[in-house]
């Protein structure tokens, strides 16, 4: 009797809708669950190939593998190496893939495959123990040359970054002076750079990068220079002094650990081949979510059979929303409140036209038989029970006849909910007796109209995609249905029903 304030209700509905939308947005942005179907994303498949010659003894091969290369995240890792024991060793300084075998002879090939996803936000390694510069010892006359070069570079710079740039520039062949020619030879250039930077007190190290180009084989790593500016490692191209990691560059190795160690083998080398793949964004998101332990938030971890069942179930709220809208706002009369949704679900499985034909024929044959039942003057329960059995006979008959005539679609009639159809026939029949054929036609076509609307909405691939991958959006549907439950305005059909009132205006 009391008139409660509706403000808490509206706040609650608003929270529901806001929660649904924000969780969906979060999942889209953070987990990369795509908003539309069929979205593709590039993935780099990189294969490291280790070749070495067995020396008839126990072999141990240890390959440095990336952990968190800047600009990429690792999707999958996989080793292919028959007969070898394999494990990934993680230490505080590095990650290494290790192959072991008791007896190795002759040429050997080991593979290690990694899938990388380009990701803007992925930053470099999080290991932040501040490195220390290792002072170097120089003999004369190099010591003087180094001192002179470092003095020049320091004069022209203000920070570790600019010092590094200047030093690289001074060591370039076109700007070489006597001092540099004394120091630089072809194969020690990068080592020299690292040593000199360390000497000035800037922690420096080398890194190896892989230039990503589609379908390249036998690629070698390219050396890069990294310095620590006090906060994080910065990457420089040692030839051009360009700072930062180029977009298509994958840093395979960072730090001073060796790339490849082979014990019990000789003539070892490592080469890389790469392939640009496209993977459906959804599959990618699923994999990533499972890795991050967020898979529990979705249905991806359920067995496939349950997943497909949920796919169907999660479409039901869409149907319910449409029924609520049609009945509350439009004012379509249907026979049975949610019968149209169940029929629409059956349509999703049978497709529209065959489903429509099957449904209409079952109901009309059922109505004829129900006419006979009503003349028997049976009690309600046994009449409905008899009707259910008759409906099963009709569907079986239609399936068999359809199959014999070569229509496989005849079989789909079994998707219809038998009990619901029996009740529909019963209601239609009573309606016919009490209100006449016209009302049966109105409610029957109203039900079918709503069922077809619900079917059209539920069968769009977008609806299936959103409801299954963003189950939180059902909070929005729930909010809308709750809001509709408070709708006290005129139905569209009432604008027609009350037309004669024009006379009293």
């Amino acid at each position: 009797m009391t008139v409660r304030s509706r403000a808490p209700f509206y706040i609650f509905v608003f929270l529901l809708i806001a929660a649904g939308i924000s969780i969906a947005t979060w999942r889209h942005i953070e987990l990369g669950v795509p908003l539309v179907t069929g979205e593709q994303r590039p993935v780099w498949m990189i294969e490291a190939r280790v070749d070495f010659e067995g020396l008839d003894e126990a072999a141990q091969v240890s390959l440095h593998i990336p952990e968190q290369p800047p600009g990429f995240s690792i999707l999958t890792e996989q080793a292919a190496s028959p007969g070898y024991g394999f494990s990934i060793l993680e230490t505080s300084a590095s990650r290494r893939a290790e192959w072991t075998k008791r007896e190795v002879s002759g040429p050997q090939t080991l593979y290690f495959k990694v899938q990388f996803v380009p990701e803007e936000s992925a930053t470099g390694s999080a290991r932040t123990r501040k490195p220390r510069a290792i002072p170097a010892f120089w003999e004369e006359p190099e010591a003087t040359a180094v001192r002179e070069l470092l003095r020049q570079a320091t004069e022209r710079s203000s920070s570790p970054e600019s010092l590094t740039r200047e030093l690289i520039r001074l060591l370039q062949p076109d700007s070489r002076t006597q001092n540099t020619t004394l120091l630089v030879s072809d194969d020690n250039y990068l080592q020299l750079l690292v040593k000199m930077l360390n000497h000035t007190g800037i922690p420096a190290r080398t890194a190896d990068g892989l230039k990503l180009e589609d379908a390249r084989r036998r690629q070698q790593l390219m050396p890069f220079l990294q310095i620590h500016n006090g906060n994080r490692w910065l990457t420089f191209d040692p030839r051009t002094a360009e700072q930062g990691v180029p977009e298509n560059l994958l840093l395979w190795r960072q730090g001073s650990e060796s790339l490849l160690d082979v014990v019990g083998g000789g003539n070892s080398q490592v080469s890389f081949s790469m392939l640009r793949q496209t993977v459906p964004a959804l599959q990618l998101a699923t994999l990533e979510a499972n890795q991050k332990g967020l898979g529990v938030l979705g249905f991806y971890q359920l067995p496939i059979e349950e997943q497909s069942m949920f796919r169907m179930l999660l479409l039901l709220p869409i149907g319910a929303l449409i029924v609520a809208f049609m009945r509350i706002v439009i004012g379509v009369r249907t026979s049975g409140t949610f019968m149209p949704v169940l029929i629409a679900v059956a349509f999703v499985q049978t497709t529209l036209l065959p489903g429509l034909i099957a449904f209409l024929s079952v109901v009309s044959i059922g109505l004829v038989l129900r006419g006979y039942l009503s003349s028997l003057n049976l009690l309600l329960v046994s009449r409905i029970s008899a009707l259910i059995i008759l409906v099963i006979f009709i569907t079986a008959g239609l399936s068999i006849i359809g199959y014999q005539m070569g229509f496989n679609t005849g079989m789909t009639v079994t998707f219809f909910p038998m009990v619901i159809i029996a009740w529909t026939i019963e209601r239609m029949s009573i309606l016919w007796e009490e209100e006449g054929a016209r009302e049966v036609l109105v409610q029957g076509s109203g039900s079918l109209f709503v069922a077809i609307c619900a079917f059209l909405a539920m069968s769009t691939s977008l609806a299936g995609h959103l409801t299954f991958n963003f189950p939180e959006l059902h909070l929005v549907v729930l909010g809308l249905i709750l809001l509709m439950g408070q709708y006290t305005g005129y139905k569209l059909s009432e604008l027609r029903r009350f037309t004669p009132m024009k006379a009293y205006d």
Binding site: L380, G489, Y490, L495, P500, M501, A503, Y504
Partner: protein, 315 residues
């Protein structure tokens, strides 16, 4: 297609389905009181304590074996009505108006045997006519002898008066006349005529059939403008008392006028239809708002009726 704009409807104060459900039935009708009106037997017992007369109860058939008593009881009766207690919209009601040797004569003139009536009772007990098919009880009532003043307007059937009672105040009323199209039933959507009644006087206002205004009864040919209900104030008071009996804040009260007994309560309806507004050519909302705005509601049915007659009777 002809449409009326929602703004115009609002101006007329027309109550619509959604608003009726949410703002009136949902707010003023306790769920627990519904069985009281959905079951005619309970209604009868509840209102009798408040001095509201109903057609005389001849027999209640609760169990299958009690059907045999019906044969004895009906032997010396000429007219009676068999009703399912939980039936709605007049479903399952059989009206016997006379005897033809050992056969019973229905209102439509069809003759049926006692055995058929007994089977009808069995069907009622099994829940054939009840809402949701739950087991039911059959009640046998004495026949209403409609007062000739009103009966002449109706084609077969008994004309009844529907009064909307809101928080105990009669807010709107109409007379329902059966027609050939409605098959002797007083249901408006089946084609019965609805005649709006002035709450203040009991005079007819205008009449509609199938939502269209009419001036003459299509079957009896009588003009519908000058119908007057006798003993109007008493009828309103009787309807108003049903509020105390049931506690339902928004309901429809269906009354008939018996030649000998005077006004009798036929049934109560916790979800009264909206067509009464068309028969009155007026919306319910202004009147409902008027009652809701009352700072001090009147306590006795008589006071409420006086207030309503004064307030809603002006035309």
């Amino acid at each position: 297609m002809d449409w009326i704009s929602p703004r115009k409807l609002k101006k007329l104060g027309l109550l619509n389905m959604n608003r009726r459900n949410v703002d009136y039935i949902g707010r003023y009708n306790e769920r627990s009181s519904f069985p009281l009106v959905d079951n005619k037997l309970k209604t009868k017992l509840a209102v009798s304590e408040y001095g509201v007369k109903t057609p005389k109860l001849l027999q209640v058939v609760r169990q299958q074996h009690e059907i045999s008593h019906f044969r004895e009881m009906s032997e010396n009766l000429d007219g009676f009505a068999i009703k399912p207690a939980k039936g709605s919209g007049g479903k399952g009601i059989t009206v016997i108006t006379g005897r033809d040797e050992d056969k019973f004569v229905k209102a439509s003139g069809v003759r049926i045997s006692v055995a058929m009536l007994e089977r009808h009772l069995t069907n009622i007990l099994a829940g054939l006519y009840s809402l949701a098919g739950t087991p039911d009880v059959a009640i046998v009532e004495s026949l209403v002898q409609s007062s000739p003043a009103l009966a002449k307007y109706s084609f077969q059937g008994v004309p009844d008066i529907r009064i909307i009672i809101f928080q105990g105040y009669p807010v709107m009323a109409m007379l329902r006349l059966a027609t050939k199209a409605s098959d002797g039933k007083a249901n408006l959507h089946q084609g019965a005529i609805g005649v709006g009644l002035n709450v203040g006087t009991g005079h007819s206002l205008n009449a509609v059939q199938f939502n269209r205004p009419i001036t003459l009864h299509p079957d009896t040919g009588l003009p519908l403008q000058n119908i007057n209900i006798d003993d109007w104030e008493n009828m309103l008071e009787m309807a108003s008392r049903c509020y105390e009996a049931t506690g339902l804040g928004y309901m429809g009260v269906d009354l008939v006028v018996d030649e000998n007994e005077g006004p009798l309560l036929l049934e109560l309806n916790a979800r009264p239809g909206l067509a009464i507004q068309m028969a009155n050519g007026e919306g319910l909302l202004p009147r409902l708002n008027n009652i809701e705005a009352l700072k001090r509601p009147h306590f006795s049915p008589r006071e409420r009726v006086h207030y309503a007659m004064e307030t809603f009777g002006k035309h």
